[in-house]
């Protein structure tokens, strides 16, 4: 029997073309997956070795791809790491992990570094899953990336305002509020944006790699206005230092580094452009005959979808409010949340898609499932949910409210497996 034929016959089963024998897997790729899975669970190599009754050096060799992982070892490792064997052996697009890229950033201690690794790995898995769905559906994410902005020699504030202004012009935003920031970054620029449950001090993460492009995670546990700020901040990193990954932590009162200052400055000018904000504020003052109340400012913050504090600080900077207004209100015990509820302002959270996954990601997952490229179990895994909910997502995304010619409401079923564009002979 030819060697090629032998590899296609495993355990007495002649396997079809789509299946690959385990023996044909690249040991280095498998080793990298095992290392990533181990770190995601914060196990040391010694702990894994003890759990499997092997020497630590054996685990080292497995992770380097120098020793082939036996079948039963792989199954036990998957169980130990709480991963599916499928996740460990499927082909994945990225070699250099986000956790490796993030390692250049300082952590306060080992525990923080391990925690950061775990979140970085999940962030990377989300981005890779997104890319895999695009590949399955043959629908690559359109990228409208501007070249990196050079800022050398320009004062940080000036550079931040210039870049924000150029980007607003490029994206046709004028100087009004950016209403759907997430959708803008995803659809008009081609960034991958996830709302993850991150540690409370972490505001967001940014990473870039060639196959994945620009990837941003913001902390879904934070209020929506903070999420938007973090999103704009990470976008600032993408525009100015694309190849330097970033993890933004909430400022603890100390001075920001120059690159953090630039990204934060960008967020400020991008979300609160000087001309648009000044014009709106002046109109408000004119209408109210020079009397500006806290309710007016809350409404203005809501209009620009930024926090009350961010708005006040920006107005102070523009000398439209006296310096120290925010601090004075704080000292007087002003409670933003209570004030908002008094004037029946929503926090904006219900208006914005705060879901973990981008809408396009979910559509692609459903499309891949409908094309029989994913099993139901895989679909649930891609959607980070269980089968029952995944079925609900398929039903929800697979049909749209429809209005017939006679004005009767109905449901239009969408066949994801059919091309939208008709082919003509």
């Amino acid at each position: 029997m030819l060697a090629e034929e032998m590899t296609r016959t495993i355990a007495g089963m002649r396997i079809g073309m789509e299946l690959q024998p385990y023996a044909a897997l690249d040991p280095a790729a498998l080793g990298a997956q095992l290392q990533e899975a181990r770190k995601a669970r914060r196990f040391t190599q010694q702990e894994v070795a003890e759990a499997l009754g092997l020497a630590r050096t054996t685990i080292v060799a497995m992770e380097k791809g120098e020793r082939r992982v036996q079948q039963d070892e792989l199954i036990r490792l998957a169980a130990l790491f709480g991963r599916e064997v499928h996740e460990l052996i499927r082909q994945r697009p990225v070699r250099q992990g986000f956790s490796v890229l993030f390692r250049s950033l300082t952590a306060r201690n080992e525990a923080e570094a391990a925690e950061r690794d775990a979140y970085a790995i999940e962030f990377q898995r989300l981005c890779e899953d997104y890319l895999e769905l695009e590949e399955l559906c043959k629908a690559p994410l359109g990228r409208r990336y501007p070249p990196e902005y050079g800022v050398r020699g320009t004062p940080v504030e000036r550079a931040a305002e210039d870049i924000a202004s150029e980007e607003r012009t490029r994206l046709g935003l004028g100087d009004g509020p950016v209403v759907h920031l997430r959708e803008l970054l995803e659809n008009d620029i081609g960034l991958r944006v996830f709302y993850m449950d991150l540690p409370s001090r972490t505001a967001g993460m940014f990473c870039y790699s060639d196959p994945l492009g620009g990837c941003i995670a913001v902390n879904a546990r934070h209020p929506e206005d903070r999420c938007r700020w973090s999103l704009a901040h990470e976008f600032g990193h993408f525009l100015t230092e694309r190849y330097n990954p970033d993890i933004s932590v909430l400022p603890a009162g100390g001075r920001l580094s120059a690159r953090e200052e630039l990204a934060d400055g960008f967020a400020k000018y991008f979300l609160l452009p000087s001309t648009g904000l000044s014009r709106r504020f002046t109109m408000l003052r004119r209408t109210n005959q020079d009397v500006i109340t806290a309710a007016d400012l809350l409404t203005l913050a809501d209009y620009f979808q930024v926090s009350f504090e961010a708005l006040l600080r920006r107005l102070e900077e523009l000398r439209l409010l006296p310096g120290g207004t925010w601090e004075r209100l704080q000292d007087a015990g002003f409670k933003v949340r209570e004030a908002k509820s008094l004037i029946a302002l929503s926090s904006g959270a219900d208006l914005v898609d705060r879901e973990l996954l981008p809408a396009r990601y979910k559509y692609l997952a459903v499309e891949a499932f409908e094309r029989a490229e994913l099993t139901e179990g895989q679909l649930a895994r891609y959607l980070r949910t269980d089968r029952l909910t995944a079925r609900g997502v398929v039903q929800k995304l697979g049909e749209r409210a429809d209005l017939s010619a006679s004005g009767e409401a109905g449901v239009l079923e969408i066949d994801f497996s059919q091309p939208i564009t008709a082919t003509t002979a």
Binding site: I15, E84, R90
Partner: protein
Amino acid sequence: MSGRKSVSHGSIVLLDACCLLNFYAAGCCEAIAEALGCSFVIAEAVSKEALYILRKDTAEESTAREAVDLSGLIGSGILSIVSLAEAERTAFLAFAGQVDDGEAATCALAIHRRLPLATDDRKARRLLQAQAGAPRLYSTIEVLKIWAEYTQANAVTLARTLITVRDRGNFLPPRGEPLREWWEAGISALKE
């Protein structure tokens, strides 16, 4: 009652997670097993998956869920959990490159033990049908039809059962399901 549909092979039918969820949602696994003249088996990996159905007790549309509890079915002997034998692991790993672990273990068992398999999963079906010695495949609807014919379920009982599967299991017939019309006709009995 009409004649029992023979599924042969030691009267065991393998279920994947989709079908297990659907039959559990139907609330009549014993009757289905009886109609098929079989007992059911699932792969150990499937038994470990967290499965849910929607609650029955809410009249309005609800998203309240309950976990699938297999202990009753196991206790009554209707359902057994099987582990992969060593020889089946190679096939499991080959399938696991393409499908999730539960599905891969189910496929490996179906191929190796030559067990008829109930699955609606189109990808799993495609992979299995490409293998030599592919098992006999059943779909949720096909099994429910066998049950309906065996028990001579009247139109109302049938409609109620199908609606229960649809509503509690969030199940809709997959694209290309040949018995889709039977399913829709069965459900429509309660609409009229």
